[in-house]
Symmetry: C5
Subunit: 326 residues, 5 copies
C-alpha cells in the first residue's frame, strides 16, 4: 500500500495520495513537507517509488527489498539519510522475537518510510497524529522522522516491563518450587533479554549519531529530540542489564536448590540406612541357628536385644543431631 | 512545595519565597544568586515555574514531570545545564533500592532543583547550611550546585559501608553454617552492589564532564570541586568492586560447602553400609535352615562367627583409615 | 592455472589469456581493466607474474606463496592494495573449518587474485558474470574487487543458516533426550561459531577500512559498496552471537538435566531403601530364635506384624508425599 | 613529626628543620631544593604547613587530612602537582591488605610529603639516601619525587613474590590433599591478588601520565625515570595476572577433586552393596521356615548355596572389572 | 662473550671483533653498519660497552643488567631505540615457560644486542646468515634488527604447533578415558597458552609501533618488514585463542564425564538395591518364627514365594526399562 501526504504553504488543505507527477513536483518545493509511506509494497512499487522517482541508491533499495534480518544502521548519502530501525510486533516478545524492520529515507523536505508489514504501530500512530498535532507538520521532515522513531522506541518499554513482570514472578517461584519448568522459562527470559540488547544497542548508536553529528537535513534544534530517544534507549539498556542480573540470580538459586535437594534426599537415605542396617544385623545374629548360643536361652535375652536396638538407634540419632542433620 | 531564596548586593538580608514577579526580576541581575527549590511539586507548578517562567526546553521539563526511572545524565542547553542525579533514600538500600531522582537546572545566576519527594536529604542539608556557610552564597551558582551534588554523593558511602558490614558478617557466617539463608542474603547483597554500580557509573561520568569540559556557567576554579566529587565516586566504584570480589568468594565457599557436606553424608552412609552389609550376610548364612550345616553343631561355632564379624569390621575400618575417610 | 582478461576502449571484444607482453602493455593503459586470476599456481608462476611482471612487494608475494593460515588483513602499498580474505569451502563447515585464503592485489586499472585451490566459488562466479553483467567491466577495478568480496561474504550466510538449523535441532533434542551425543554436537557447534567469529571479525575490519579510509584506487562512489559488504559481516557477527547464546542455553539445560536425573535416581533409591530397611528389620526381629519371645506364640502375632508392615510403609509414603517426592 | 631539608648554592651544608620563616624564604629561591616531610602530623600542623604556608588548595588539604581510603590519583594545579600513592605496610599483605596513603605535593623547587603513619619505608629510605646519593640533591624536585615513588613501587615486588611462593605451595598441596583449608587459603590469595590489582592499576596510570604529559615541574629528561616506574608497575600487573591464572587452576583442581572423591566413595558403596545384597537375599531365602522346601533336606544343599554365593560374587566382580571400576 | 662485526664501504672484507677504539671510530661512520653482540656478558663488560662506549641511558642499562622478568617494551631515546623482546628457549614450553630476554639497541648505523644466555637461537641464526644473505648488510641497521626479531618470532609457531598437537591428543583422550591425568595435562596446556598470550600481546604492540610510528632510525620502506612480523604475532594470538576454545571444550567434556560416571554408578546401585531390598524383605517375612503362620504349612508356599520374587524383580526391571535406565 502506498500512502502519501503533502503540506505546503500554497495550499491550506494538505494533498493526500499524490500521483507520481505530484510527488515529483512536491520534491521541488523546499518549503513543503512530503511523507511517502510504503506499507507492504510490491517489489515493483518499491522500484518505481524509490528507484525511478526518488533515485535512491541501489544498495539502499536492495536493503528495503530484501527480507532477511538486517542490523539497525544509518547510511549517509549526499541528499538524504537512510535509516534502518526495528519496531516490535504486538504479542509476547519472548515467543515471537522477530522485530519488524522499518526503513526511513530522510531528506530535507521529505520522509519516505518502508515496511514489509501492512500495519506497523509507530507508523500508523504518527499518521493519525498528523491531523491533531500541528508540530509534526510545521517543524520539518527531521521532526516528523523523530516522531516515528520516538513512537517506535516507546513501544519497547511495555515489552521490557512485561518481561520484568515475568522475571519477578519467576523469582518468587524459584524459591517456592524450583521445577524444571521454572528453569526453562528463566532461560527463555534470558534469551529474550539478549535479543532485546542486540536490538537496542545499534539503535542507541544511531540516535547518538543523529543527536551529535552534523547532517544537513537535521536542524540544530532538532538534535535534542533525537537525544531524548537516545536517553530512552540508554534506559532500556540499563533496565535490561539489571533484569539480566536478576535472571542470573534466579539461575544461581535454581541450580543450588537442585543440589540442596540432593543433599536432603541423601540425608534421608543415610539416616535410615545407618539406623536400620546395624539393627538388622543384630536381629540377624539372633536369627542364626547355632545349637550353642547361650543368649537364646536367657530369660531376658529378648528384652536385652530390644535394649540393644534402642541404644543403637538413639546413639545414631544423637550423632546426627550433633552433626545438625535434622 | 515551592521554596526560593535570592541573594544580591542590593539587599543585606536575602529575599525568600519570591513571587513569580520577583523571580523574573531576580533573573535579570547577573550578580545575584537565585535558588528555586521544587519539592514534590504538582504538575501545574512544574509547568508554571519551569515552562512559563524559566522557559526551559519541553524535553527537560518532560524529564522532570515523568515518574519512571531515568538514567543519570547531563544535557547542555545554551543558557543552562540540565543535570539528572540520583539520591539514596534512607532505610536499607538492599531492601528498597529505588533511588530518588534529583533534577537540577544550573544557570549563570540561578539553580533550580526538582524532586518528586518532599524530603530529600542533600537538598534539605544545603538549604539549612545556606545561613551558616557563606561560601554557598558568595561563590556563585556553580558552587551551590556542587554543594548539593557533594552531599548527594556523600550519602552513598554510609550505605556502602552498611553493605560492607553485612558482607563481612556473611563471610564469617558461611564458614560456620552455610545455610540457604546465607545464600539468599549473599545474592541480595550482590544484587544491591550491582544496582549501586549502575547508579554510580553514569554519575561519575557526569562529574568527569563537569570537571573537564568547558561550560559557560562553571568557572575554571570551580571545576576542581566537581573533580572532588568525581574522586568520591571513583572510590565508591572501587569499593563496590572489591565488595563484589568478596561476595564471589562467599558464593564459592557456599557452593563448595554444599558438595563437601554431600561428601560427608555419603561417607557416613558408605562406611555403615560396607561394614554392616557383609556382617548381615554372614549372620544370614547361619540363619539358613539347611539340615546339613556342620558349623551349626560346632561347639565354638557361635564364637567363631563373632570372630569373623570382628575381622570383617576391623578390616573395613582399617581400609577406611588408610583411605583417610575418618 | 593462469587466466586473464582485459577490457579496453581500443578493442570491442575483450582480450583473454594475455601473454606476459600483453599484460605488460595493458598495465600502461589507465583506462583499461585487467584481471589476472591465478588458481592453484605453481611457485614459479607466482614468482613470474607477481614478482617479475607486477613487481609486487616480496613480503606480499611471500604471503601468497606460504600455505599456513594467515589472519585476514589489508596492506597498503603505494600503487596497490594487498587484501587477504577467506572464502568458505563447500561441505559442512563444522567438519572442515579450514577456510580458503583468497589474496587480491587491487591496482588502479587491474585486479590480481591468487588462491591455492583451483576452484574457489566467488572467483568462478564473478568470472562467469563478466559476460552478463557489464557493470563489472565499466565501473573499474574497485567494483570488480567488490564483486569478488561480495560473493565471498555472501557464501557465509548459508553456512551460518545451516549451523542455525543444527542448533535448533539440538535445542529440541536436549529437552527430550539429553544424551552425551547432544553435548558433543553442541560443543562442536560452539566450536564452529567461534571459528566463524574469528573469520568474520578481521574481514569486517577490512571492509570498514575500505569503506571509510581514502585509497587512491577506490573511488568515492565505490565505497558504499564495501559498506554494503560491511553490513553483511555485521549481520553475520550479530547472528553468530545470538546463536552462541542459544548454544549456552542448550549447555545449561544439558548440565542441569544430568543433575536432575541424578536426583531422580537417588529419589528412587531412597524411597525403596527407607521403606524396606525398616520392614526387613521388623521381619528380622521375629526371625530371631530366642526361646522366650512372647509375640511368637500370640494368636494374631503374624497378623499384627503385617499391620506393623503396613503402618511403616504407609507412614513413609505419606512422608514422601508431603515432601513432594512423588 | 615535621622534618625539612633545604639545599641551595648559597650554603655548602644543607639546612635542616627550617622554621616557618626559613621555609617561606627557601620557596623564593628557584635554584634551591626544599623537602618538607610530614609524618603522622596533627591536624593543626597540616593546616599550618599546607594551608597557611604553602597555600595549597583546600580540597587537596582535605584529602591529606581525611583518613578513609582514597584511590590513587594525580591532581594538576597551576604551580604544583598533588599526587596520592599507596605504600605497602610491612607484614603479610593478605592478612593486612590496608595500604598506607602517601600524599606528595611536587612544586618546581620543593617536595612536600604527607603520611598518617610515622614510619613509611620509602620516605625513610630516601631521607637516609639524601646524604649518600648526590643525584637526589642536584637533579631537582622531580628526581627527588621520582626517588620516593620508585622506592614505594619497589616494595610491591617482594610482596607479590611472597604471594607467588604461597600459591606455588598451594598448587602442590591441592594435588596431594585438597582439604577445605587449601580452598580457603587459595581464596585468600585470590582476594589479595585482586586488592593488588586495584592498587597497581591507578598508580600505573599516574606514572603513565607523569612520563607522557607535559608538566612545568617535570623536566623532559626526568620523564624517562617515571617511565621506569611505569615499567615496574606493568610488570607487577603482568605477574599478578599470571598468578591469578594459577589460582584459577588450583580452584579447578580442588573442585574437581571434591567430585572425584565423591565418585570414589560412591563406587565403594556400590560395589559392596551390589555384591552383598544379592548374597543376603539368597541366604534369606534359605532362612525361610516353609515346611515344604526340598533344598533344605538335600545332602549338598549347603555346599550348593556356597557355590551360588561364589558365582554371584565373582560375576559382580568381573562386571565391575570390565567397567574399569577398580 | 662479546662479538662485533663492522661493514663499511672503505673495506671489502668486514672487520670482526673490533677493539673499543675501532668501535668508537666505526660509530662515526654514518654509512657503515656495526653489530655488537653481547652474549652472557659480565656486569663490567655491560657497563664498559653500553655505558662508557655507547653512553646509553642508565635506566636502559639497568634493564639489561637486571635478571628478573621484564615485560616486552620499546623505549624511544633521541639517538636510538631500546627494545626488549623475549625469545623462546628450546625444550617443551609448558615445562619451562621461562622466556629468554633479548635486549636490542637500534641506532642509525648500529645494532647492539644483549642476552643473559650464551646461546640464543635467533641471534646465532642471523649471525651465521650475515655471510650468506647480503641484504642483512646492505639494507642498514633497521633491516638487521628486523631479521633478529623475525627469527625470534618465527620460533613461536613451532612451539604453538606442539601445544596444538598435545591439545588434539587430549581432545581424543578425554572422550575415551577422562582420567585426572587428562585434566591436569589440559590445565597445564591452558596455563601454557595463557603464558603465550602474555608474551605475544606486548610484542605485537611493539611491532605495531615499529611499523606505524615515525622513528629516525627506521626507513619508510623498512616498516613493512616490521608489519610482517606484526602479522605473524596476530596469527599467533589468533591461533592461541582458538586453542584456548578447544581447551575449554575439553574441560567441559571432562567435568561432564565425571558427573555422567557418577550417574552410571548410582544407577547400578539403585537398580540392585531396589530389586533386592524388597526380595530380601519377603524372604525375611517367611523367616519369622511365629507359631501361627498359615503360609508356612501350605503345600506350594515355597513355590508361591518364588513366584512373588519373580514378579517383584521383573516389575522393577520393567519399571527401569520404561525409564530408560538400561
Ligand atoms: Mg530488508
Ligand atoms: Mg520516547
Ligand atoms: Mg517522547
Ligand atoms: Mg523488582
Ligand atoms: Mg526525556
Ligand atoms: Mg520524549
Ligand atoms: Mg523524571
Ligand atoms: Mg563529598
Ligand atoms: Mg567535599
Ligand atoms: Mg573490610
Ligand atoms: Mg574481612
Ligand atoms: Mg577529595
Ligand atoms: Mg569532600
Ligand atoms: Mg598464504
Ligand atoms: Mg553481499
Ligand atoms: Mg548483495
Ligand atoms: Mg529460533
Ligand atoms: Mg545492503
Ligand atoms: Mg550486495
Ligand atoms: Mg587521606
Ligand atoms: Mg623501581
Ligand atoms: Mg629500579
Ligand atoms: Mg611457578
Ligand atoms: Mg627499568
Ligand atoms: Mg629505577
Ligand atoms: Mg633484564
Ligand atoms: Mg617471521
Ligand atoms: Mg618470514
Ligand atoms: Mg584440530
Ligand atoms: Mg607475511
Ligand atoms: Mg618474513
Amino acid at each position: 500500500m502506498i500512502r502519501s501526504v503533502y503540506y505546503t504553504n500554497h495550499h491550506i488543505i494538505p494533498q493526500t495520495n499524490l500521483s507520481i507527477e505530484e510527488i515529483h513536483r512536491a520534491l521541488q518545493d523546499p518549503e513543503g513537507l512530503l511523507w511517502v509511506c510504503l506499507s507492504a509494497p510490491t517489489e515493483e512499487e518499491l522500484q518505481t517509488i524509490l528507484g525511478n522517482l526518488f533515485h535512491f541508491h541501489p544498495l539502499a533499495i536492495e536493503d528495503c527489498t530484501s527480507h532477511g534480518y538486517q542490523v539497525s544502521k544509518i547510511d549517509e548519502f549526499r541528499d538524504y539519510l537512510f535509516i534502518v530501525m526495528h519496531a516490535l510486533p504486538s504479542g509476547k516478545f519472548w515467543e515471537i522475537s522477530e522485530p519488524i524492520e522499518v526503513d526511513i529515507f530522510l531528506g530535507k523536505n521529505y520522509v519516505v518510510s518502508v515496511t514489509h508489514e501492512s500495519y506497523v504501530s509507530p507508523i500508523e500512530t504518527v499518521w493519525k497524529h498528523l491531523e491533531k498535532d500541528e508540530r509534526l507538520i510545521t517543524r520539518g521532515s527531521d521532526f516528523l522522522c523523530h516522531a516515528i522513531l520516538d513512537h517506535l522506541v516507546d513501544d519497547y518499554l511495555p515489552v521490557l516491563d512485561e518481561i520484568d513482570e515475568q522475571i519477578e514472578f519467576l523469582e518468587d517461584q524459584v524459591l517456592q518450587s524450583p521445577t524444571p519448568d521454572v528453569l526453562s522459562k528463566t532461560l527463555e527470559m534470558k534469551h529474550a533479554l539478549m535479543s532485546m540488547r542486540r536490538l537496542v544497542a545499534p539503535q542507541r548508536e544511531i540516535m547518538n549519531r543523529l543527536s551529535r553529528d552534523e547532517f544537513p537535513m537535521i536542524d540544530q534544534q532538532s538534535k535534542i529530540y533525537f537525544r531524548d530517544i537516545y536517553d530512552h534507549l540508554v534506559r532500556l539498556q540499563d533496565l535490561s542489564e539489571s533484569l539480566r542480573d536478576i535472571v542470573t540470580g534466579i539461575l544461581d538459586i535454581y541450580l543450588n536448590s537442585t543440589s540442596l535437594r540432593l543433599n536432603e534426599i541423601m540425608k534421608a537415605l543415610t539416616i535410615v540406612s545407618t539406623i536400620f542396617l546395624p539393627l538388622s544385623f543384630v536381629a540377624g545374629v539372633y536369627g542364626m541357628n547355632f545349637i550353642h548360643m547361650p543368649e537364646l536361652g536367657w530369660r531376658y535375652g529378648y528384652l536385652m536385644v530390644w535394649v540393644i536396638f534402642f541404644l543403637i538407634a538413639s546413639g545414631m540419632i544423637l550423632f546426627f543431631k550433633k552433626r545438625n542433620w535434622f
